[in-house]
């Protein structure tokens, strides 16, 4: 068996770890534990009294069509946003990597969007697609698309996807560009001698070599679409019209803080926690197996 080297520890390492452990404990473990506890309780809106109700919050949740609708919306939204922002960013990065002159200007133009906060992006989108004063609403109207952000769930989703992708492309672009630049120059040149078609060379050499970057970004993008789009949703649609754009995270907020159903909201966050854990596990399992070379 493996013989482990033993060191005598002083208390110092633990002491130095305390701040980090404290932060994780206070802001992660404690709230998570509280959420699990609350999900078994029925609490009055003012937090004066609570009643143990067992799994009732969960049974209500799983029988709710509204919740199911939110799950479907969230998954679809996350997949579409991730796919679009990854593919657009990849295309832009490949093009930017081939530019010889004015590379800097091109890069800055594409990356500054990263600095825009989601809520601000949402408000900007709100202006542009506003039913009364929105520039794009007018353009769509002149093209014969009766665009309505506040009444049509499809139109609302369209704007949310657009704004979320716009914001995320910049991050993906930076990573893809760095990934492209880390591919050995000589490997590209060897491929140029072996393969005449640029397109084929991209799919057989560049794309597989970018796979680790791409997979890392997929994780980041799914997380982004799940959680960070909260600001965009809140400022643009507030989950409407008719709950058509309520993501899981937004529903937790709505039910818990506006609907004051703390127990139900807590049950939802526990479900989401389990979902995210499962997703992370699958992803890392996949990363270990497939993406290494």
């Amino acid at each position: 068996m493996e013989q482990r080297q033993q060191y005598t520890h002083s208390a110092l390492p633990y002491f130095l770890l305390v701040p980090q452990i404290a932060i994780i404990a206070i802001f992660f473990f404690y709230p998570a534990a509280e959420a699990v506890y609350l999900s078994f309780m029925l609490e009055d809106p003012w937090g004066q009294s609570s009643l143990f109700v067992g799994l009732e919050n969960y049974t209500i949740l799983f029988n709710s069509t509204e919740y199911l609708k939110s799950v479907v919306f969230t998954l679809g939204f996350a997949l579409v946003v991730s796919f679009l922002s990854l593919s657009i960013a990849l295309l832009l990065a490949v093009k930017a990597n081939n530019i010889l002159h004015g590379k800097g200007a091109y890069k800055i133009t594409l990356t500054w969007v990263y600095a825009v906060a989601p809520a601000v992006a949402g408000i900007m989108g709100g202006f542009m697609f506003n039913p009364h004063i929105g520039v794009f609403t007018e353009i769509f109207a002149s093209l014969g698309w009766d665009f309505s952000l506040y009444t049509d769930p499809f139109d609302a989703t369209f704007v949310l996807v657009l704004v979320s992708v716009w914001k995320q492309v910049s991050v993906n672009f930076i990573y893809f560009l760095a990934g492209l630049q880390s591919i050995s120059y000589a490997v590209n040149e060897a491929a140029m001698l072996d393969c005449e078609s640029d397109r084929r060379r991209f799919w057989t050499i560049t794309f597989p070599l970018l796979a680790p970057t791409g997979f890392f970004l997929l994780v980041i993008n799914l997380t982004y679409a799940f959680f960070e789009t909260f600001g965009v949703i809140d400022t643009l649609t507030s989950g409407g019209p008719g709950g058509g754009t309520t993501s899981l995270v937004y529903k937790i907020y709505r039910d818990g803080f506006i609907g004051t159903d703390l127990g139900g909201s807590a049950a939802q966050s526990v479900v989401l926690l389990v979902l995210v854990l499962a997703l992370t596990w699958v992803q890392f399992k996949f990363v270990e197996k497939r993406v290494h070379y």
Binding site: S184, A186, V187, E189, A190, A191, M192, L193, D194, C195, E196, S197, R200, T204, I205, P208, L209, A211, Y293
Partner: protein, 360 residues
């Protein structure tokens, strides 16, 4: 077979790396481009491969002008310095990639790879990825990837410079054997003169984008065309000392010797070139003798380098293993056929008799 016609390469920053290089390479010939860094040897190689566009001139391969064709359609294979294997593919896939893209069917690919793998002794790790291979193995795979395509021309870009000394000597010999066996025309770039001397049928010595000399290894060593070639080929480098010549009489270090072969030269100041290995302790009949004050001795094993001063200028001689004290004065002798004469511009002054001998 491969013809470069007045090849010019100017980079965007205005640097002219190749200044009009013309050369004709015969079928099956092994050509080595050699020169110090920045001499344009890599630029020439990359221009032939099509990895760099050329500014002027033409490149012809088998009577086909190729300088406007894409790299992959030139029918050229290249071995890179850092091997440039595809890291996400197995050795087999690395070898198959170029063939697959040319639409060759699976069975043909398999039999070709099998043959090449046998020749290069890489059959045992065809299923491995490059990261799991040693430097020498990667080198073989890189060679295999070039050979398996059966190209009209091989290009080698300092392929041995990442290997350790013993492996380098071994691979050098293998490359030479393989090239003779396959008889594929090859252009090999190196800054290592030993590789140049051992591998080449003809050496092209480059200096600042221009050809200094084209010749067989023996020609380049025995009749260097200029002081540049003379000092670049041969290790340690040739010694240069000023001397006077008039009517075939060379005046050097208070000594005058008459060499009939140089009688045609006008009176002038010359650079006298003497290789360290040609300055010997035994007197020769009709040679030059001069004294050397020993400064330092570097033992090499079979022999030793003696550094000292001749007429207050540094001189290096290669002698057998003998003990010399510091400041000891030695008398060295150089046979007249081992004297190299260069004019004040560093161009070789040819001896008449040698020219006659060479022509016959």
């Amino acid at each position: 077979m491969l013809a470069l016609k007045n090849l010019v390469k100017t980079y965007e920053n205005g640097h002219q790396a190749v200044k009009g290089v013309s050369v004709d390479i015969k079928q099956g010939e092994f050509i080595v481009l050699v020169g110090p860094s920045g001499c344009g040897k890599s630029s020439i190689l990359r221009s032939i491969a099509g990895l760099e566009s050329i500014t002027g001139g033409e490149i012809h391969l088998n009577n086909r002008r190729i300088d406007n064709e894409k790299p992959a359609s030139r029918d050229i294979a290249m071995v890179f310095q850092n091997y440039a294997l595809y890291p996400h593919m197995t050795v087999y896939e690395n070898l198959a990639y170029g063939l697959k893209n040319r639409g060759i069917d699976r069975d043909t690919i398999e039999s070709k790879i099998e043959k090449v793998a046998k020749t290069l002794k890489i059959a045992d790790y065809l299923e491995r990825k490059p990261a799991k291979l040693s430097g020498g193995q990667r080198q073989r795979v890189a060679m295999g990837r070039a050979i398996v395509r059966d190209p009209q021309l091989f290009l080698f870009d300092e392929p041995l410079s990442n290997l350790d000394a013993s492996l380098r000597a071994h691979m050098r010999l293998e490359i030479k054997k393989l090239q003779r066996e396959l008889a594929v025309t090859s252009v090999y770039v190196t800054h290592d003169q030993v590789e140049a001397m051992t591998l080449a049928d003809r050496i092209i010595v480059l200096n600042q984008g221009e050809i200094e000399q084209i010749g067989t290894p023996a020609e380049v060593y025995h009749q260097p065309a200029s002081t540049f070639v003379a000092s670049f080929i041969g290790s340690p480098a040739m010694n240069f000392h000023q001397a006077e010549i008039a009517d075939g009489v060379i005046n050097f270090e208070h000594q005058s010797i008459f060499i009939a072969e140089y009688a045609h030269l006008s009176a002038q100041t010359i650079q006298l070139g003497i290789r360290p290995e040609h300055a010997v302790l035994e007197p020769s009949k009709s040679g030059l003798s001069f004294s050397l004050t020993v400064q330092a001795v570097e033992p090499l094993g079979p022999n030793q380098l003696v550094h000292g001063l001749v007429n207050d200028k540094v001189f290096t001689a290669l002698t057998p293993e003998l003990h010399f004290a510091s400041k000891q004065v030695l008398t060295l002798h150089v046979a007249k056929q081992h004297l190299h004469l260069f004019d004040k511009n560093g161009q070789r002054l040819q001896a008449l008799a040698q020219e006659v001998a060479q022509a016959s």
